[in-house]
Symmetry: C2
Amino acid sequence: MRWIRASKDDKTFYGIVEGDRIAEVEGSPFAEYQRTSRMHELKAVKIEVPVIPPTFYCVGFNYTEHIMKVAARTGQPPNLPTQPDVGQRTNNALIAHGEAVVIPHDATDAVQYEGELVAVIGKKAKHLSEADALSCVLGYTIGNDVSERSWQKSDRTLWRAKSPDTWKPMGPWIETDVDLDALETIVRTNGQETTRFRTNAMLFGVAKYISTITRYITLYPGDVIWMGTDGSSPNLKAGDVVDIEITGIGHLVNPFVAEVR
Amino acid sequence: MRWIRASKDDKTFYGIVEGDRIAEVEGSPFAEYQRTSRMHELKAVKIEVPVIPPTFYCVGFNYTEHIMKVAARTGQPPNLPTQPDVGQRTNNALIAHGEAVVIPHDATDAVQYEGELVAVIGKKAKHLSEADALSCVLGYTIGNDVSERSWQKSDRTLWRAKSPDTWKPMGPWIETDVDLDALETIVRTNGQETTRFRTNAMLFGVAKYISTITRYITLYPGDVIWMGTDGSSPNLKAGDVVDIEITGIGHLVNPFVAEVR
């Protein structure tokens, strides 16, 4: 099943995507819902961020090649994690499929994408074993963890390098039927392939992260966990378009534009 | 004005505290509201977390003495920030005044409080000058940034050291009439004073932080910014009670209990 959050005529609703049509529901996949008889053409709605999370979790350093590239870039030894520690991002930065990423006027050239698998929590969860961990997942979507590498190096925290307004595209929808091992992440910049990796070739997978987090933290319906990225990105500039595909889920496409002051 | 969020008879509402009574409102201080004729005794309601923030910001290393204590504890040189970088915490951990902080069974003895001033955002804000920054603040409350010092040292991120369920007491209410320079923070452990500092003796004050954050990030109504702490804390154990007073705002009091497995 493919859950979409969309708007039309000033109304925002959840729906189920069926081919190029949407069956509108009353309620949401995170609570009660009921399918209605209202059908929409997919191309006739505005796609919205699939969920505004109560807490926005994000994993760093979860793929070997990415860690090696970071080490080369910063001149530090590779920081290979020995346990799954999770971080956070901020809701101000969320935008939907199709919306523009705005590059602040004082960013350096080193603005880059990070294509990420996003696990969307569907049920309240605490103390899940690794074997049971995926039972709390509603489905998966795609995230672009846009990053400014000079600020990532200079600042004590990631707030400016990762969380400016519009820097967290997420979508286009939540796919519930996913075979994690079959997924491939493919990023295209202006139509040219610039990154490709096996999505599930993570140091610590989704189940391991959820099992670890829920030892101490209750996950709530709508919480999201961005699972980190592999490979590297070219530097992006205004006018570029980034298309992050995860096979079996879809494409998250966003143009980059310059801040208007 | 003193805003409280409270519940009674399965209903949660905002109200205005007047002495030992509450005037219930329809709506909230973050949107439209209207005072009702319903009055409650303060002692007859359950005090709730004053707001569930869209994003939960938290400042570290914002008082000189605290930075020196951290340096002594970790054996690292003092990390005196040169610019105001902000971090985040997670909503799962929020509890109200009076509720219990639960110590996980595998925490070390080094569970400590951090008494903090909390700025509560009342209006959407972007690109505020330092002179105008406080115009977006609805008021101030109190936070206890409970921390486990061994996990803070061992983990790559602060998720386990700072964000277990129940580890972010916040309240008891939001005070809108505050003279920041007059505030004093006083922490009492089991009735004995264990920390005292001038609340506004920060490296970077509330206005400086808001002005800096809003260069890149839109702040939204209900967002909170925890402003860091000074001094140090004794190690806390089940049975202890921590009372964080900020003069002119109130007392945030929480017992500590052991996890029941």
